[in-house]
Subunit: 375 residues, 2 copies
């Protein structure tokens, strides 16, 4: 499976020390490297770098550090050469393995958005996805960013997975299917030992958690994949835990707008309100103002008209007793990109935990957030 | 010094058990008691309560819990009586000693706001305040909420403090004077062993902290007394610490509006931005948009025109790379009440720490916030 790119660079290209033999297929990326300067290690060979700077890995931490000047190393892709670089700054950068992702439900809009975001992030999309029973026929022409994806009938999933695992033994599954499929799919992933990110909501969540725990597979399960929304929600909870009653005497007003088909109110709003209650703000959930009228959504909430059918806008206003102090917090989401990006982060996170052989197996988006920026 | 009020209530009024003899002078307040139902314990007598409910203290935690039905207790202010209440809910409430406060600088607007807020919160205002040298003459008629306050010349402060301490041995000083007076005043408070809340900004802050630490007096020192603003600022820092890089790829825009006389930008904005930087948002402080034009403040920022000369409005906008996600955080303050209320909370906090004989002596507003609602 290993691929090897040698990108255009004027620098000499070095191989790495033999300690990297456990590495299979890595892409190197740092903020300081432009995307034109991606580099790759393959089959135990670390390939390097940018201009005259040489970076080598220091296993097992997968952190690269720039080597001191005037070293000479074996060359993997070019002729033997010695580095003449003598500058001394050496910020470490992460070495990341390529991750293979199978997106079940990429026949749907959310799954497709995840598949596209995964490809854009440099992940390898497995060109198969499992659909509901008897439903594969409708997706003969499925293509994502030029990658033709076979939609496979759910009845054939065991056989197909045998085949997929031969080509992608370390794959991670992403599930954006249907609430009714959540538990059945999870049971299947668990029975096959497949690590997975469950982005589908609904189903029996307690059973889901129990099945995963019993199986010992690595999984991220989260009802809300919008990483930054989860971070905001957690920040409000942290504030409430640390400073209980800090907003005593204030009043709270909550307004949310979602596509008119959404009947119930937002789970995120409920979670944030529960933090505000601990901060001393009296509030009942039935006081949430739910805006569902498209005209009001555009004029009052500022929803772009092209996103009337897919948005999640929230405004929390906290006003002091004398009206002299107003806090306002908004999180306004259009479309699916935030959830797709968060899902890709969850996949990268899970890949890291598997690599590290972490003891903990079951995670949520807070765990993903604590890990820091995954890209 | 102990005063004793028996407020109008139809309930029997009970004294408390002898375990309270160490209590001198307390005011009881809970959210569930209206302000007409304040009650007081004096000289070891706990005086109670509301309707037919009897609350007694359980030292040493200063937490009141409702006694079970049919108890009989000695009566301090009325005839002996027994409670017939049989309802069983018993939310605890706090028992708080009356605190005496001397507000130096209550000749100024901020000091006056604090003195008023202190009185409104049931604290006892010491009817003296120390002014700058040679400046007392201008305040012969100083009166705060009907309490005539003597403004005393700074040259006489030693003599005046001897006298004040006789009447209010446990007083706490609040300082809202001038930057040039910060260090001199703090030295004076330290030399007299006076606990204090330093609300005045400026001066040599390192020296201030060193003087307090050397003296061992209890003090709250904070450049920002707006408790809820500090809580928000801390929440953003907590988010940054726990979820570094969570907003990587987002862009930040910061707009603040203050009275046109404020030349520099806001310290709060700088602190919040430093958290956002850790969250992965690139930003230089010179990118802060400072709005100082009154017309723009009213029309664009929504500042009420009567507060053009005293407001602090801040808007932080975080936008995802694809523009599909927008977070907006605002804290908009008019006038001085938030700072006055925060200062009163700091005084109550300090009184509690003194009562508890806390080892730690020097505090900031984060410490005050961690203590929970002080009222």
């Amino acid at each position: 499976m290993a691929e090897c790119w040698s990108l255009n660079t004027t620098s000499p290209t070095y191989s790495c020390n033999p300690g990297l033999s456990q590495l299979r297929h890595y892409i190197l990326r740092t903020r300081s490297f432009s995307s034109a300067n991606f580099f790759v290690a393959a089959q135990g060979r670390l390939v390097v770098f940018k201009e005259a700077t040489c970076w080598v890995s220091s296993p097992p931490g997968l952190v690269l550090q720039r080597k001191k000047k005037n070293m000479t190393m074996g060359c993997s892709l070019g002729a033997r050469a010695s580095s003449s670089d003598s500058s001394s700054d050496a910020s470490p950068c992460l070495l990341r393995p390529t991750v293979s992702v199978m997106v079940n439900g990429c026949t749907g809009k959310m799954g497709q958005a995840v598949a596209e975001a995964a490809i854009a992030a440099g992940l390898q999309l497995v060109p198969k996805c499992i659909t509901g029973r008897g439903r594969a026929g409708g997706y003969a022409e499925l293509s994502i960013q030029g990658i033709k994806v076979d939609a496979v009938d759910g009845d054939e999933r065991e056989k197909v997975m045998d085949q997929v695992l031969q080509d992608y033994p370390d794959l991670i599954v992403v599930d954006y299917t249907l609430p009714a499929a959540v538990n059945g799919n999870a049971e299947f992933y668990c029975s096959r030992g497949l690590p997975f990110v469950m982005g589908t909501t609904g189903g029996d969540r307690n059973k889901l958690v129990k099945d995963v725990e019993a199986s010992g597979v690595y999984a991220v399960i989260a009802p809300q994949m919008g990483k930054q929304v989860v971070a905001f929600q957690a920040a409000m909870e942290l504030m409430a835990e640390q400073f209980p009653g800090a907003f005593a005497g204030y009043t709270l007003q909550v307004t949310e707008s979602h596509q008119s088909s959404k009947v119930d109110t937002s789970g995120t709003a409920k979670a944030v309100i529960s933090s505000f209650q601990k901060l001393g703000l009296p509030f009942n959930l039935d006081q949430i103002e739910m805006v569902r009228d498209p005209e009001e959504q555009v004029k009052r909430m500022g929803v772009p008209s092209e996103h009337l059918n897919g948005h999640a806008f929230h405004t929390y206003q906290l006003v002091s007793a004398d009206g002299m102090v107003v806090f306002e917090f908004q999180h306004n989401v259009c479309g699916r990109s935030i959830y797709a990006q968060g899902t890709v982060d969850a996949v990268l996170f899970l890949a890291k935990k598997i690599r590290e052989k972490a003891d903990k197996k079951l995670y949520n988006m807070i765990d993903v957030l604590r890990e820091g920026n995954m890209r």
